[in-house]
């Protein structure tokens, strides 16, 4: 195998960065967690709506809403909590909108992530950054 020149390494790195640019970056381990949930399938974007406050004064109670019309289930993660899982909603036949609102705890400023499994087996992801003034996990 031929040694890589500096120019080739730079070009390769640039391509890698360009691929990442479309995705928000999450804390270590979150991408692996998402890919273990989706069994390696890359989630699409655009069909899940996730509403969070931009700034939460109290991390003990942060209101969030998710909706993913046509989803079987939606999982909520927070990437910098002591454990990332927050909740998972599974929708029954009498649920017309596949939406839910709740209040969650956030330990610090971080990304809230909604990962939805659609009825055709594909995955959709949405994330939203929340700035937290007072953390809510009593660390």
């Amino acid at each position: 195998m031929r040694d890589l020149t500096r120019r080739q390494v730079m070009a390769g790195g640039g391509a890698g960065l360009a691929m990442l640019a479309g995705m928000p970056s999450f804390a270590a381990g979150i991408d692996e967690l998402i890919s273990s949930v989706t069994k390696g399938m890359a989630p699409g974007a655009g069909l899940v709506s996730l509403v969070t406050p931009e700034v939460a004064e109290n991390g003990n109670s942060v209101s969030i809403s998710v909706a993913a019309p046509g989803a079987k289930s939606i999982s909520i993660f927070a990437d910098r909590n002591p454990a990332p899982k927050v909740a998972a909603f599974t929708f029954g036949p009498l649920n017309p909108t596949q939406s839910a609102s709740t209040r969650i705890r956030l330990a610090s400023s971080q990304n809230v992530i909604a990962l939805a499994e659609m009825s055709d087996g594909s995955w959709q992801l949405a994330s939203s950054e929340v700035k937290v003034t007072i953390g809510g996990c009593g660390g």
Partner: protein, 109 residues
Amino acid sequence: MAIGVKPRVKIPKTAKAGDTITVKTLITHNMESGHRRGDDGQRIPRSIINRLIVDFNGMNVIDVALEPFISANPYFQFDAIVPESGEFHFRWFDDDGSIYETSKSISVS
């Protein structure tokens, strides 16, 4: 059984067949996360509600898995279709094995 657990549910009293209605639920529970430390420096053991199941006339509306990062007094709002008159049945499952149940009827015209 955790002390002072009281489920509360709000739905409209009446609706038209096939309407989408909004259901709001709240249950008083301190949702001890298991991540906090007490005055003695020891972790306070986890004690949360870990699941909420809502059915209407035996058909499922929503099934929620709760983790320790749901706020105290877990609140959920979601939509449901009501094809006929009947009863919503709500069940919350505590870590300690208790099940808190409540029902609400709706008359559909």
